[in-house]
Symmetry: C2
Subunit: 352 residues, 2 copies
C-alpha cells in the first residue's frame, strides 16, 4: 500500500525494521521499560540530538528540545514564553490561524500578511511583510499541508525573531537555522511517529520572562534539564533517532532535498500538462511536501479516490476543510511511488 | 534482568510480544504510519477506552482522555481548569509538593495535611483532613513512589471534588471511581510506555471555566473531541491497549490486587523479620507498589545495590532525593521476581 497520509505518515522501511529489531535490546529490557535516566536512554537522546544538529546544521547558540503536545501546544507556548505585548502572525492557512488564536490570549496579535482572500493559495514574498513596532516575533507556518503551499524564501526580520512552525517540512530542505529565533515541529511527518515535538530555540530567547508560567510550559526549564525535566516520550525519541540515521545514510539534507524536488516536480508536471487536473497553489508557492489539486470536474474526485485506493494508494483525500486531492510526499515517500501516482493520474485522464 | 525500575518500568512480556508482533499489521503499514483519524486507529482508541472503563469500573458520567505531558502537565491543568479561588493539597511527598507549586500560580492553595515533618512517612487518615471553605477540590497523590506510602482509605470530601494523581498505582487495586472528581495518571508505571497520560474526569467538572485557557490545556476540548483534538500519541495508546488486555486476561483488577498484595507482603515480611532492614514508611501507610527501606548500617547500601545488580536485579536504588533502597513492583512485576529479591535480602543479611 502506498501511504500518502498527511501525518502521521510513511516512515522509512529501513528505520521501521531497526526500530522493531532493537525493540528488546536494552540490557534484557525493551525500550518501553528502561528508565529515562538510564545510560541507555541517555545514549538514545544524545544520538538523536547530535544527528539533528549535524543534519540541520544547528549553530552552537541554540538548544534542541524534545517535548510533547505537538504543534498545537507550541501554538500556546510560543506566545506564553516569547510575547511581551504584541507579535506578528503571517496567515497562510488553517494551522497559522490556529496559532494566531492562541496568541490572542496573551497579547495583541497583528497580521502583516494574509492570503485568506485567495483561499490561502500562496505564501508572501519577503517584501510583502512589514512588522509592527515592538513586535516580539514574527510567526510563520513554513509549509501549509492543507493548501499545499510553502515558503520558498523566508521574511527578513532584522532584530525581531522569526518563529516557524516547520511541522510538515523540517529536514526536507536546507535552511539557514541562524535566521530563526525558534523552530518547532511535531514529529509525525518528517521525523518519526506522533508523540514528540522538536523545538530549536536560540539561547537569548530562553531568557525572556514576561509572565508567570506553569513549569512544564517554560522553554528554559526544558533547556536546563536537557529535555529530562519530566519523563520524556522515550519510544518516540528512540524511533526518531532511527529516522534521523536514515536521513544521514541517504546522503543528508542535500540529497533528500534533491529527491524531494524531483518527486514534487514529477507531480506538478503531470498536473500542468493535463486538461483534467488543476493545482490549487500559486506556482511560486507550491509545496514540495503536499501536492494539492482538484479535478476540473470535481464530481469525478470521488471516483479518482476510489480507483486510487483500488490501485493500492491510500491517504490521497484532501483535508476535510477543503476537499480535493492531496498527495503528501514527505521525506520517506519513495520516488517510485510518486511515479506510480503520476502514471495513475495520466491513465485516469485517458480513461474518462 | 529483573526490572525494579520506578518508571518507566517493567511491562508484561506477553504485551511486549504482541506490541512487537503487530507492529506492521495495519493494512500494510506500521502502527507508526497510520492516520490518527483512520478506522484502524479508531479501533485501537475505542478498544483502550472500553477496556479501561471495564477494568476500572468507570461510571457513565465520566470521560476518559488520553493526553500528553505526563503528570507534570496535569499539575498545571488541574488548577487551570478546576480552581476558582482556592483548593486544598494534601502533602505526602515530592510529587504532591510539585503539584502544589503549580496550583499556587492560579490561586490560594491550602494544605490540610502534611507529613513533611516526619519525612513523608505516612498518608493521612480520612479524619485528619478538613477542607477550606470554598475549596474547589482536594488534591491527593494516591501512591508516593519516593517515600513508599499509599492511601489505604481515601478522604471523604462531600460535595468538594476529590482529585487524585494515581500515576503509580492506577489499576493496581480496586477503587470506587465515583468518589473522585478527577483521576490522572502518567502511563509509564502500570499502564504502558511513557508518552500518554490518562485523565478520568466527571462530566460536571468539564463545565468549569474560571479563566481563559490555551485550547490544548482545556479538558472540555479533549472530551468533546474524544482525545482527537490534535494528533494523539498513537503508539503509546496502542501499546497501552495491550497492557490493558493483559490485565483483563490476568483476571482483572481483583486478581491483580491480590497478587500485588502478596508481592508487597513478601517484601514487608522480609524487612520486618530482619535485623538489617528497616522500612521507611509507617506500617499503616505502606505502599503495595514501591517498597522502600534502608539498611540499618547505611554504609552497606551501596554494596547491597552492587550485589543485587550482579544477581541480575536492576533499578533498586532509592530516588536521588532520599537514597536508600526502593523495590518498585508494579502490576507487571512477577511474584517470582519478588521472591528472588526476598531470598537475596535474606542471603545478604546472613553473609554480612
Amino acid at each position: 500500500m502506498l501511504n500518502f497520509n498527511p501525518g502521521p505518515s510513511i516512515l522509512p522501511a529501513e528505520a521501521l525494521e531497526e526500530i522493531r529489531r532493537n525493540f528488546m535490546s536494552f540490557g534484557g529490557m525493551s525500550i518501553l521499560e528502561i528508565s529515562h535516566r538510564s545510560k541507555e536512554f541517555e545514549n538514545v537522546l544524545e544520538d538523536a540530538k547530535a544527528l539533528f544538529v549535524e543534519l540541520a546544521v544547528i549553530p552552537k547558540n541554540y538548544h534542541i528540545l524534545f517535548l510533547q503536545g505537538g504543534a498545537s501546544l507550541q501554538f500556546a507556548m510560543v506566545p506564553m514564553n516569547l510575547m511581551e505585548k504584541c507579535a506578528d502572525y503571517s496567515l497562510t492557512g488553517y494551522w497559522s490561524k490556529k496559532a494566531l488564536k492562541e496568541a490572542k490570549l496573551f497579547g495583541e496579535a497583528n497580521i502583516p500578511f494574509s492570503s485568506e482572500n485567495s483561499a490561502f493559495s500562496r505564501t508572501p514574498k519577503p517584501a510583502e511583510i512589514s512588522l509592527s513596532q515592538k513586535s516580539s516575533y514574527l510567526h510563520i507556518t513554513s509549509n501549509n499541508t492543507i493548501y499545499g503551499t510553502q515558503y520558498r524564501e523566508f521574511p527578513e526580520t532584522g532584530d525581531i525573531p522569526l518563529v516557524a512552525d516547520m511541522s510538515s517540512d523540517i529536514l526536507s530542505r536546507k535552511i539557514d537555522v541562524s535566521k530563526f529565533g525558534l523552530i518547532y515541529a511535531g514529529a509525525q511527518k518528517n521525523l518519526g511517529p506522533a508523540g514528540t515535538t522538536v523545538v530549536i530555540i536560540r539561547d537569548d530567547l530562553l531568557k525572556r520572562e514576561y509572565r508567570k508560567l506553569p513549569t512544564m510550559l517554560k522553554y528554559s526549564i526544558h533547556a536546563e534539564s536537557n529535555s529530562l525535566y519530566n519523563t520524556p516520550p522515550v519510544f518516540a525519541v528512540y524511533a526518531m533517532s532511527y529516522v534521523l540515521k536514515w536521513i544521514k545514510k541517504s546522503g543528508g539534507i542535500d540529497a533528500i532535498e534533491k529527491i524531494n524536488r524531483e518527486k514534487a516536480d514529477t507531480l506538478y508536471k503531470t498536473i500542468d500538462s493535463s486538461n483534467l487536473y488543476c493545482g490549487t497553489a500559486e506556482k511560486s508557492s507550491r509545496s514540495s511536501m503536499n501536492v494539492t489539486f482538484r479535478l476540473k470536474n470535481t464530481a469525478l474526485e470521488n471516483r479518482f479516490l476510489d480507483e486510487a485506493k483500488k490501485a493500492e494508494m491510500a491517504g490521497l483525500k484532501g483535508h476535510r476543510e477543503i476537499g480535493g486531492i492531496r498527495a503528501s510526499i514527505y521525506n520517506a515517500f519513495p520516488l517510485d511511488g510518486v511515479k506510480k501516482l503520476a502514471e495513475f493520474m495520466k491513465e485516469f485522464e485517458r480513461k474518462i
